[in-house]
Amino acid sequence: MNGVHDMGGMQGFGPVLREPGEPVFHAEWEARAFALTLAMATPGGWNIDMGRHARERLAPGQYLTSSYYQIWLAGLKTMIMEAGLATAEEMETGVASTPPAKVRRILKADQVAEAMRRGGPADRDPGNSVAGFAAGDRVRVRNFHPTGHTRAPRYLRGARGEISTIHGFHVFPDASAAGKGDQPQWLYSVRFSARDLWGDDANPADHVHADLWESYLEPV
């Protein structure tokens, strides 16, 4: 979706403000919101793409005026509600008024280290699938505007670039976020000239590389 989360190339946000000696978390609640989000994926059964999509669906005004972990918190509540694990009212009051949903398992303290070490690899066995593009191929990012989740940033749509490397055969987030399974595709690093993206004011030496799935691309 063409949301405000898709920020590449937007203007007017001002300078990049840094905080010397910045702590990992600025308040205890940030740490708890972070950990709740990670831990709830186990009983919730949602994947990383669903999580991103839940955050992107916040109303634009709310997204832009919320801090990072406020966005995480709002996204988490959306997923909990949509999964039928709790109601909005229960989450606001902290008091359960409906019985708990049946969940397959939860994340126990003694499983944390191994779960983090394992992570969630996104590559899949390509089987007989053959990559449609090779390094050096000229491609164009399709002009498309899906209303659901996508990882094709707006600033690249319609732009011409060159396949730089083939990363592998990866879970397709547009499908995965919609609960339609992995539907893996070939994933490429695509190289774009800054001039092609931003016009003549850009430095001719500069480039942007982005990771794009095969169905985002068409041959030139």
Partner: protein, 216 residues
């Protein structure tokens, strides 16, 4: 904790202060989810401890310093970052598909996630607020040299600035250039020159003159 705060963070500042609305909401949510049996509160503590104290940019600094001091390791790191980084014990969540990009006399690399906040956790820990902020996410791709200037870095006009937008599950770590005046330094000494920002690509590795204390 002073903090420039354009996005309206509401912080609670510890003991004696009022809990913010958000803090109360998080507390209510955690208590509900615990009551419903969806979470093990000890698992939350474990997660926080991991990312607050155990995983951070010192991991990445060790990787970079090793690459600076061992040409075979450097080659391995550039060819198969996952294996080379895992050999030092760093792997897992948000680092499942690592790629290391090397700064050279011709190329300066810089990493962003314009769509959210993708960042290589096992080697850098959790990202700083500025990395996740609208100014950085919006400008890194359209005005990378302007952003670099704000960090105090000027890249010569003929040298390529190569920006990596982390749009998939591939995570990027910049291998900065080894500063001069470090001949004969051990990997441990070199690691002190490797800052978080130098591995994101918004700054260079420290010059030896910038180190503030004696070598450990």
């Amino acid at each position: 904790m002073a903090h420039d705060d354009p996005a309206g963070h509401d912080h609670d500042h510890g003991e004696g202060s009022q809990l913010s609305d958000t803090a109360l909401r998080v507390r209510a949510l955690e208590s509900l989810l615990t009551e419903k049996g969806y979470i093990d509160p000890d698992a939350l503590d474990r997660l926080i401890e991991t990312y607050e104290y155990k995983v951070g940019p010192r991991n990445g600094a060790e990787v970079v310093a090793r690459a600076w001091s061992d040409p075979d390791y450097r080659r391995w790191l550039l060819d198969d970052a996952n294996a080379a980084i895992a050999s030092l014990g760093y792997e897992g969540r948000q680092g499942e598909h690592m790629v290391v990009v090397e700064n050279t006399a011709k190329v300066h690399n810089m990493v962003v996630c314009t769509l959210c906040s993708c960042y290589p956790w096992p080697v850098l820990g959790l990202p700083p607020v500025w990395y996740k902020s609208a100014p950085y996410r919006s400008r890194a791709v359209i005005d990378p040299r302007g952003v670099l200037e704000e960090f105090g870095v000027t890249i010569e006009p003929h040298r390529e600035v190569r920006v990596w937008d982390s749009t998939a599950e591939v995570r990027y770590l910049v291998l900065p250039m080894r500063p001069g005046g470090t001949d004969g330094w051990s990997a441990r000494e070199l690691a002190r020159l490797v800052t978080r920002d130098s591995m994101i690509g918004t700054r260079l590795a420290l010059d030896p003159a910038e180190l503030d204390g004696p070598a450990p």
